[in-house]
Structures are given as C-alpha cells and as structure tokens.
Amino acid sequence: MIARAARLLPLALSLGFGNASSPGALRVCADPNNLPFSNKAREGFENKIADLVGRELHRPVEYVWWAQRRGFVRNTLTAGSCDLVVGTVSGMEMLATTRPYYTSSYVFVSRRSRALGITSFDDPRLERLRIGVQLIGDDFANTPPAHALANRGMTRNIVGYTVYGDYRRPHPASDIIDAVARGDVDVAVVWGPLAGFFAKTSAVPLDVVPVSPRADRALPFVFDIAMGVRRRDSTFRASINDIIARRRPAIDSILDAYGVPRVASTSVIPSASAVVPSASTVVPSASTVVPSAARDR
C-alpha cells in the first residue's frame, strides 16, 4: 500500500486479537487519547483508578483501546474483548453500572483576571459575552449548557467546540479551555473533570465554578459517574462495588490530584431530586450513543 507506512497512527488498536492477554488480567476498555480521563501512556485519572482496581483484585491491568465514541461499548465491552469501563454515567442502560464513585458538575470557566463570578445561566451578562460550549453531533442531543443557552435564545454569541476535539493532538478536549486562556471566549461551560484538569495546568489562572442551580428545567448539570461492566457479570460488579466502597479515600485522592471538581451526589440531595429532575431521575438510555453500524452516512 502506498503511503500506508507514513500514516499517523495515534490509535494502534490491539483489540485483543493476536496478542493474547495474560491469564487473569483485568481488561479495561478505554480511550487511548482522552486526557484527563485516559490515554495510551496511562496518564489519565481513569488509568490510575484502573491500577487501583487491579491492585485490589491482584490482577495486572491490560487495555483494549477504542475511541470513546458511538459504538464504544458495543465494540469493546459488549464484544467481550475487555471487561471494565472505568467511567460512564451512572444508570446507563447499555451496560451495568456500579455504584457511583464521584459526582461532578458542569462548570463556568473564565480567566481569573476577569473576575466574572458567573454561576448561573440567568446571569444577564452572559448575553454580552462570547461563550464557549461543547457540542454533540446528533439525535437532538447536546451538552446541557448548549441546551440551556439555546433555551434562552443565546446562540449568536456561542462558539461551538466538538466534544471530540482534534484527535491528532495529545489531548483533544483541551481546545475549549485553551480558548478561555487565550481570551478567544470570555467564558466556557464545560464538564467539570475536563475543566478542572486543564485549568490546573493552564499558564493563565482560571476560575472554575459549578453551574447553579444543579438543574435547569429538565436539564441536569450534575452527573454521578460510575464504572461499567456487562450486565451478566454481576459477581464482578459486586467486587468492583466493594472496592469502590472500601477505597473511596484513595479514589478521591486520585481525583484531587487531577483537579476533578466534586459536588454532592444526585442521590443524596432529596430536595433537589424532589423539585427538579436530576441526572438520576432522567431516564438514561442508550439512545443517543449510536453504535457505529447505526447510521448511513
């Protein structure tokens, strides 16, 4: 093949064939290029949590790398090539989720020097600012801040970034935080773990403030994050639940090290769940992650 050798291959996928996995290995399904969550150099916080789980189970950690996009679960966990997804939304129907091990929130990110202090989508100043927000492609799906801004008619002052970013780069998702640091946008509304990590490493001091209130009509801004296993692997799931319960302090310190902002779980704020729908009362479904076989394009 002409020019094949010169191809950029950030995703040399092993996919489990050819290289037999070690007997008893903990096979983790993960994105090879999605810091701060995971990468192939095992530098993400999900990599560190996987190491922790592996140590607890006395099993070496091995990876099946697959970009975390449509078809991720089907091509990895469901296909049987790996057994554990370290990060997913609690209650996702396409897999069995463990007990949540952290809860984070969408956050407003701005330069500290601006001293904006915006906490709510009802802040009137938003209409006059350039707002960076991440967008999802299809199925009428989007990040909650994209919906919240559109609901308020604020679309002309939005600068859209894809959640996928430029996958050729080492940390594709950092574009939107870089844009805040450079001043391309005045404020960005970003999922907490992403914002916390890149704000922590930013040369320009940034403020990271959780969106308030925690939900906007039917839109949750707070999500419980759990691990995911196959539905039939209930014993394995129980052992992961046990590790999460026992090693919560260790998990927390990993999350702290990566600057992951944490808020109270959606399940422990009765008033919030009674008044406004939170992530746990929104019916999760597989609908919006379309498997890769799913669409003709």
Binding site: L135, V283, A286, P291, D296, R297
Partner: protein, 619 residues
C-alpha cells in the same frame, strides 16, 4: 475481530494464488465484443436520456458505475429478460464476500469482468465472467485503519466503485480514495483526502467526469465541515475542493453563480446564515450521488444535513447544508444552488440521487432534474437554472406543508418543530426521510421513476442522559415507527410529468435497496427480508422472486455477459442504518438504539441474518 483477521489472511493467500495463476490473463478493455444474441435499446452514457424509446442508442451491456449512466437512470436497454420470461430466471452463480456488514454497493461490469467492493474493510474482487462459477481473477485488500470503525461516526458501508479508463476508483472508511489497475488489481495511486481523527469518513461511490474523480465525505454529526473534492484521474492529486459551509471562496461561489431564488442569493451566505463560527463545524457532508450533464457540462449533487443535529443551537438557514448544487466539473465553480431544507430540523440530508431527463411539461420540453428527496417531496427542477417546476409529496408528509414555487421555500409545520424537553409525536417522515440513499431508477420506455423508499414516522419524547468522550450529555429519545398504513416500506412507480403515483408495492420492511429498470419492462429490487424481486414496470405485478441468504440493501444491476446473454446481479447482506439491529447486533429491547430506528425494526432479527453474498441470475 479475531474472525475478521482470519478471513483477511485467508483471502490474501487466495488472492496471491489467483494472481500468480492468472498472471498472463488479459483483462478486458472497456468495450466488450458486440453481441448478436441480445437485442437492446438503451441510453447513451454521458447524456441525459431523451423521453422516448426511439431516441435510445444501443446499450453497451456494461455497468461501469453504480448509476449506470451520467444521467443516473439505472436503466438498462437489455431485453432478453423481459416480462414474458422472467418467471424462468435462475441463480447461476453466488459468491461469498467474507464480510458480514451491510452491503450497499452495486457490482460493476466491464467487458467480461465483474468487480465488487464490500463494506469495511473494503475487499475488492474481480470475478471472471467467462468461466463457470465466476472464479476470482484478483482480490485487493486496502487494509483500512481498524480505528476508523471506532472513530468514524457511522455505518461501515461502501456504496460502490466506479470504472474509467482502465482503472477502478473507490473510497475507504478511513478517508482514502484509491485507484486500482482494473487488469491487475494493483494500486495506481492512493490519496488521503480526509481524517478520521476529525470525524471524517467516506462511504460514497465516486463519479469520474472529464478526468476528475469526484469524492465527498461523511460525518456531519462529528463536527465535520462537508466537502466535495475533485482528484486528477491519472495522479490522484486534489484539483479542487468545494466546501459546503463557509465563505464563498471556500464554497467555490464566484461571479458566475446564479441561484434561481432570492433566498439563495447573496454574499457569503455560508457564513452569515450561521451563529458566530458555527459553520466551521456545520456538517453539510456529501455521501450520496452525483450526476453529470455533458451538454450543459454541469455536475449535480446535494449536501448533507447541518450539524449539530439539534437545531436550536444553529439559528439561521445554515447554508449550504441540505443544498443542491450545479457545478463545473473542471473547476468546481458553482453555477447555481438551491437549498432544499433550510435550517434542517429532522436530519433530512440532501444527498439523494438526481436523475437527469428531458420531459414534456405543459407542452414544453424541459431539461429536468428529478430528485425524490429525503424531506418527502419529489422535486422536478429545471436543471439549467435550478427552478423548481414541481415538488410533490410521494408519501405521507406532515413535517412540512409544501414547497412555495414562487420563493422556493420549504414550508415547515411549526407543530412538528423539535425542541429538547418538548414532546413531539408523529413527525413524518422520520429522520431517515421518505427515502434515504437508496437510489431510484427511471425507464425512458415507461416514463416512470421507480422509487424504493420507507414509510416511517417518529416521536420525540423524554430526555435521556448519556456519555461520550468523557462527557455526559442529554438528548431527546427518538422513536421511529411505521407510518400510515402500517407498512414500513414501499416501491413506488411515479410519473414525474403528472406528479402522480402509477402503482405501488407496499413492503413490510423499509425498501433499502436500489432499483434497476430495463427495456424488458422489468424493475428489480430487493427487500430487507432477502427477497429479490422482478416486477412488471407498467403494472407493478411481481413476476418473479428469489430468496437470498440475507436482507438486500444493495443496488441491483443487469448486464450482457461474455456469452451474449443478459444477467442480473445483486449483493445481499443486511445492514445499514435500517438493518443495524442485525448487522450491528443491537439490542431489540433498546427502542431508541440506532437513533430510534431499532424501534421500527425489532422484528428484523427474526426475518434475516447477516452475511454478504453476490447473486447472479439468468434465464
């Protein structure tokens, strides 16, 4: 994955042996030996067919591109197989492709060789039509990046390869356009035209016009900015790129751009009809069909839906998404454009086929372009200037109330506008449209269009949470179901002059295959259960049917074999968006999987199983 790797190795070994044995074999040129056995009438390749049998030049019996001719009629002048004898049609050869995903491609016949391309990983086979059982002459494995399946947005289909001037041209899911020597299967050039890391994939069949290989991208949901590119046929170098969003200079709009309607006139509408910089990730890909009028020297094609799908975040017309373009093939310069679905609300891509025919309309001969559009209307347009002559619904439509022929505007129904948190029921047609990519055919003998399509509506209700690329998000639950009548598909014969249906066959499942019309007054098509059917082109009566091994979503063809006799061929192998529940192994309990399509297709696994196979028939 293990299984796929083994198959690859096996075929490589086989291809090596075949090539070694046949190394002295000479592959045919473009023209087969003239045959006295089969009478034919037909349309010339390169010109729009006139409306009437008398003007039809003889069919050369080949099928060198998926749409048969530049006018995209998918009409064969062959008559050996006809209404009087089609009942005797028999399977004469089969060939397993070794691939299990959805087979949407048309086989290609050049001289005495048939070429087929599979879905990912895009094996290309050359089959010898001169020998019993159609032995393999050579096989080519482009070895696309496995990652493209994961990074890519969508299905792993391929809609076909095209032959020109001794070479075959096709696209790969990982964004390569490849030219092969048709005689040897050896790559001549290989150009990377897109990047899976940016969400781009390629599924369409190229068209070669005047030494330019025209190719487009897919992935409008991934923040891709859509384009059509022209590659030099001999070198593979990109000659021009026309983007479908952004400033006029990028869209190749210049002083000669003359849209018919005021709504499409103005400077840099590809920027000003979007919020801020949203055009940079605005979709408008091109994964469908291109036609060419050699007299006018214009190519015609449409662009895909805008991104993101969720329309609230992109107020404005979102030009030039869901837009029909007329361009010069040599420079890409836009001559006119017509936006079919401005500010698309329902995923109505504009990538369907356009059939170029001259019609007598109201006593005047019009050079027309006919498009059975995803939004539910058959557009009959003046292809010289982009005027809409008529736009008639060819199924049940309530998402819009019609097309204003004075302004050219699609009249949306505000009750069916979607918004997150709002429950909207019975939106018709559903997201796959009245018709998706599956191409129609046109018989100049009957003057009818043979349209394979679906009959589906959708509900949007309830917000669901999900997670991708480390990020939780929310979206509407889309549920797709059968439209009025309860049938999910239909083959429709349509008179584009009167704007009326002539006959129709209601199919239980969506008709996701292409059609072919012949001078033997037959129409061939396949069903997702796997039935391959021959129908009387004038009455719609089913005259013959054969059950293939898997659901059919491919494009049938017919050709004259080296023995002078007429053959019909089709690839069977269910998949695609509609067949994802089988090909992708989706969970039938999850009603909103495959963007809601699984809800409409939950019985498909009981009716067919996956597996790619070529079937060839003759009398």
């Amino acid at each position: 994955m293990r299984q796929r790797r083994r198959i690859t190795k096996r075929w490589n070994a086989r291809a090596f042996v075949v090539i070694a044995v046949l190394s002295a074999a000479i592959v045919d040129g473009c023209k087969p030996e003239p045959s006295q056995t089969t009478k034919s009438v037909g349309v010339s390749v390169g010109a729009a067919p006139a409306n009437g049998e008398a003007n039809l030049p003889a069919d050369d019996g080949q099928w060198v591109r998926p749409a048969k001719d530049f006018a995209s009629t998918r009409f064969s002048g062959l008559t050996e197989i006809n209404t009087s004898n089609v009942a005797n049609l028999k399977s004469v050869a089969t060939f397993s492709t070794g691939v299990l995903r959805g087979h949407e491609a048309a086989p290609i016949v050049v001289g005495s060789t048939m070429y087929i391309i599979t879905p990912f990983p895009h094996y290309v086979y050359a089959l010898d039509l001169t020998k019993p059982g159609l032995p393999t002459k050579w096989m080519f494995n482009p070895k696309p990046e496995l990652a493209s399946q994961g990074v890519a947005c969508c299905d792993v289909v391929n809609r076909g390869l095209v032959y020109d001037n001794g070479r075959l041209f096709f696209n790969t899911l990982d964004d390569h356009t490849i030219a092969l020597d048709a005689a040897t299967g050896k790559p001549v050039w290989n150009t990377k035209v897109g990047d899976i890391n940016m969400g781009e994939t390629m599924t369409m069949a190229p068209l070669v016009v005047k030494g330019k290989v025209l190719v487009g991208d897919a992935g409008g949901e991934m923040g891709v900015r859509g384009w059509l590119k022209a590659l030099d046929e001999s070198t593979g170098n990109v000659v021009w790129t026309a983007y479908h969003t952004g400033p006029d200079s990028d869209v190749l709009i210049g002083p000669n751009f003359k849209p018919f309607y005021q709504k499409d006139q103005g400077k840099n509408l590809g920027v000003s009809s979007w919020p801020a910089d949203a055009w940079k990730i605005g979709g408008g890909t091109m994964w469908g069909w291109i036609s060419y009028d050699s007299t006018a020297d214009l190519i015609y094609y449409g662009s895909g839906n805008p991104g993101p799908w969720n329309p609230e975040v992109r107020p404005g017309d979102n030009k030039w998404t869901s837009t029909l373009f007329a361009r010069r093939p040599e420079t890409g310069e836009a001559v006119w454009a017509y936006q079919l679905s401005p500010h698309d609300l329902h995923d109505y891509d504009g990538i369907n086929e356009q059939i170029l025919v001259d019609l007598d309309i109201g006593g005047t001969k019009r050079k027309t372009l006919i498009r059975p559009e995803r939004n539910g209307y058959i557009y009959v347009m003046d292809r010289t200037n982009g005027q809409v002559i008529s736009a008639t619904p060819y199924g049940f439509v309530n998402a819009s109330s019609g097309v204003d022929l004075t302004t050219g505007a699609l009249q949306y129904n505000p009750e069916k506008e979607t918004k997150v948190g709002k429950v909207v029921r019975d939106i018709c047609p559903a997201a796959p449209g009245m018709k998706d990519w599956q191409p129609s055919s046109y018989s100049p003998k009957t003057g009818m269009l043979y349209i394979p399509h679906q009959n589906l509506c959708m509900d949007e209700e309830g917000v669901s949470a999900n997670y991708i690329a480390g990020t939780p998000y929310v979206g509407m639950n889309v549920k797709i179901f059968a439209g009025p009548g309860g049938n999910r598909g239909e083959l429709e014969a349509w008179n584009p002059v009167t704007g009326k249906q002539v006959w129709s066959i209601k199919e239980d499942l969506p008709v996701w295959s292409g059609t072919v019309a012949t001078a033997g007054d037959l129409v061939f098509y396949g069903t997702m259960e796997g039935w391959f059917k021959a129908v009387d082109a004038r009455s719609g009566k089913v005259l013959w049917q054969y059950k293939t091994g898997s659901g059919i979503i491919g494009q049938p063809i017919t050709y004259r074999g080296p023995d002078g006799h007429q053959y019909v061929a089709v690839l069977s192998g269910v998949g695609g968006w509609s067949g994802a529940i089988v090909a992708g192994g989706l969970d039938a309990r999850d009603s909103s999987a495959a963007a809601g399509f699984v809800n409409a297709m939950r019985d498909l696994p009981d009716k067919t199983t996956k597996g790619g196979m070529l079937y060839v028939f003759s009398l």
